[in-house]
């Protein structure tokens, strides 16, 4: 019996005697150290300094002296958000985790994204035969045999996307046009957007070139990767498409807009998109705060960057909040009039 106790004690002893490879308490609320960590992470990963003509070192010179070791979390939050605001990038979000401070991004107001120009419940009043093809895609028919398709995001698994598109396009194949609504689509997975655009394509066309950071120097980028839109799936919808966008259309919703705009059958209606194309990553600092960083330099087919600018529509139209609350979707109504 003694022998067994000895063996058990030896096992537990071994389990507790190893030294960790990190500081015993890595949490550190020192404002200077946390400011420097955030600044350094952007320096090492942000992909848009060149595209946006930003002098990151100058921003350090301005904002770093505003932080002292004793600066409290709210003070640090004010300085960091002011500095990040200069990047004019909706893909940058600061999550002050573990505090009561609100999530920050350039397009948030006190931590809330206010978008009062769209209501899917109002859209539904225009659409008959409403179908759900997965949680990211709904479709049905509008008046005058016009199809309607709503995409709320671009999922990161391709198979469900293929299945949903097959179902929706089969259901809409006899309509004379489709109104494709991505007004409330914040983005998702670019390859899914590429696949969906391919269901409307008849030819192969370059729609964007992407370079991503591959090293700590601001000039460290991997090779440019060309993205083409080309026919995908079992069939193509080649009749007119009215693509509805808004300022809430972001990220993969915008690369999708680039891809769709390569087609002559597509007309973009609504508002200019968000202007945040790049993939982003999450990083953390010692005090537990988290932040996203855009790592890529995404260029349209014309070679230009539209980060911070967005994709402008062919025809501008925007709902007023009062209209939407009254059950009217002026953008959707205009889309139906644009169908040839």
């Amino acid at each position: 019996m003694k022998q067994k106790f000895f063996m058990l004690a030896a096992l537990l002893g071994l389990a507790s005697c190893t030294a960790p490879f990190y500081p015993e308490d890595p949490a550190d609320k020192n404002a200077v150290r946390n400011f420097d960590q955030i600044w350094n992470d952007f320096d090492a990963y942000y992909g848009l300094f060149e595209a946006k003509h930003l002098d990151w070192d100058s921003l350090y010179a301005v904002y770093r002296p505003q932080v002292q070791e004793g600066t409290d979390e709210e003070g640090l939050y004010q300085v960091v958000t002011q500095m990040l605001g200069h990047l004019n990038d909706h893909h940058i979000t600061l999550f002050p985790a573990g505090t009561d401070l609100p999530r920050w991004s350039n397009d948030l107001t006190n931590g809330v994204f206010i978008f009062d120009e769209f209501d899917l419940d109002v859209v539904k009043t225009y659409v008959s035969n409403w179908h759900e093809a997965g949680d990211f895609l709904q479709w049905g028919t509008l008046a005058d045999n016009i199809g309607y398709m709503h995409i709320s995001s671009f999922p990161d698994k391709i198979k469900p996307v293929e299945t949903a598109l097959e179902q929706a396009l089969n259901g809409l194949k006899n309509t004379r046009a489709i109104v494709l609504d991505i007004r409330d689509c914040p983005g998702g997975f670019d390859p899914a957007a590429q696949y969906i655009a391919g269901r409307f394509a008849t030819t192969r066309s370059l729609y964007m070139t992407v370079r991503k950071r591959n090293g700590p120097k601001k000039t460290d980028f991997g090779p440019g990767v060309e993205w083409y839109v080309e026919p995908t799936g079992s069939s193509q919808f080649t009749k007119p498409v009215i693509l509805l966008t808004s300022r809430a259309t972001g990220s993969a919703g915008e690369t999708f807009t680039w891809a769709m705009n390569r087609m002559e059958t597509v007309q973009q209606l609504g508002d200019t998109t968000s202007g945040a194309f790049s993939d982003n990553i999450m990083r953390e600092t010692w005090n537990g705060w988290m932040y996203t960083i855009s790592v890529g330099d995404y260029r349209a087919a014309d070679g230009k960057s539209y980060e911070g600018i967005g994709v402008a529509p062919d025809v501008f139209c925007r709902n007023e909040k009062a209209e939407v609350l009254a059950g009217k979707d002026r953008v959707l109504e205009m889309a139906m009039t644009l169908v040839p």
């Binding site: 022998q3 063996m7 030896a10 096992l11 537990l12 071994l14 389990a15 190893t18 960790p20 490879f21 990190y22 308490d25 890595p26 949490a27 960590q37 990963y45 992909g47 999550f95 985790a97 573990g98 609100p102 999530r103 931590g111 809330v112 994204f113 206010i114 978008f115 009062d116 769209f118 209501d119 990161d156 698994k157 391709i158 997975f189 390859p191 590429q194 696949y195 991503k212 950071r213 591959n214 090293g215 991997g222 990767v225 060309e226 993205w227 083409y228 993939d279 990553i281 999450m282 990083r283 953390e284 600092t285 010692w286 537990g288 988290m290 790592v295 890529g296 909040k321 939407v324 609350l325």
Partner: protein, 276 residues
């Protein structure tokens, strides 16, 4: 070249089947099932400056073969649990949402990392001492396939490795008596390592997330990837066929690219096995 976990697991399984078919008829086989708890600590500077740790429940299957001069075995273990940033327990982020009617909703999301370690390994050892001795030393090699899947806001430790390592083992099995003891160490020589790229993304034209992740697979020598493991096991022969054992296993690894990752795992497990 094999790049996916499925391909590596298939190759390992094939090696096990071939080894099994080549066994002499007099060989002794042992099949075991284990449950354990693993303490995982990692610092993946590819994603964060914060170290993460957690206690991960594990389950495993072991098959072992012994003949006069040879010993081989196949181990499979799977775990599932959560990691939290050291120094920031219970951390959460708050999302405020407001619909068009002005109705606000507050969603508080805990910042934890769901963590799933999966490992399959096959080893083959040749006895270095006379087979009739109570204390037996053996040496050989091990191939193993490890996949650490992490999810959440940050994904520290996300890594797949397929590695080759020499292994040295001591077994003490007295002719009389029910107790037995084993201890062993391995040190990785080379590994095919897959981690997130420097930019931390997986999207690529026409690709899936898996294509994007496994597209960043490189062969690392000990200069870029180091891993060593050790274990001690105390066992008790319950009946002619049944044994029970308690095992402590330690693993430490370091991978240099694109940014350093340090991982330490310590597992205590209990195994019930059947010899036939």
């Amino acid at each position: 070249m094999m790049k996916t976990p499925f391909q590596w697991i298939s190759a390992t399984a094939l090696a096990v089947v071939l080894a099994f078919l080549s066994m002499p008829a007099t060989a002794q086989h042992t099949l075991g099932f284990s449950v354990g708890l693993e303490k995982t600590e990692l610092l993946d500077q590819n994603t964060s400056v914060l170290p993460y740790k957690g206690f991960i429940p594990q389950a495993g299957l072991q098959w072992q073969h012994r003949s006069k001069h040879w010993q081989s075995g196949f181990d499979l273990s799977v775990g599932r649990g959560h990691l939290q940033a050291v120094g920031h327990p219970g951390r959460s982020v708050v999302f405020l949402e407001e619909d068009i009617h002005g109705v606000r909703d507050t969603v508080r999301v805990p910042v934890v990392v769901p963590w799933t370690p999966v490992e399959a390994s096959f080893y083959l050892l040749r006895g270095l001492t006379a087979p009739d001795r109570d204390l037996r030393m053996s040496a050989g090699g091990m191939v193993s396939d490890q996949f650490f899947y992490s999810d959440g806001f940050v994904r520290p430790g996300l890594m797949h490795t397929a590695s080759v390592a020499p292994r040295f083992q001591l077994d003490y099995r007295p002719e009389t008596g029910r107790m037995f003891f084993s201890a062993g160490i391995t040190a990785t020589l080379a590994a095919l390592v897959t981690r997130m790229r420097y930019d931390g993304t997986v999207s690529q034209p026409g690709g899936t997330r898996w294509n994007g992740f496994f597209g960043n697979t490189t062969l690392h020598g000990p200069d870029k990837h180091r891993r060593w493991t050790g274990f001690v096991q105390f066992g008790y022969q319950l009946t002619t066929h049944w044994q029970a054992a308690a095992t402590y296993r330690f693993e430490r690894s370091h991978d240099a690219l694109p940014r350093p990752l340090d991982l330490q795992r310590q597992k205590v497990s209990a195994t019930l096995s059947w010899t036939y």
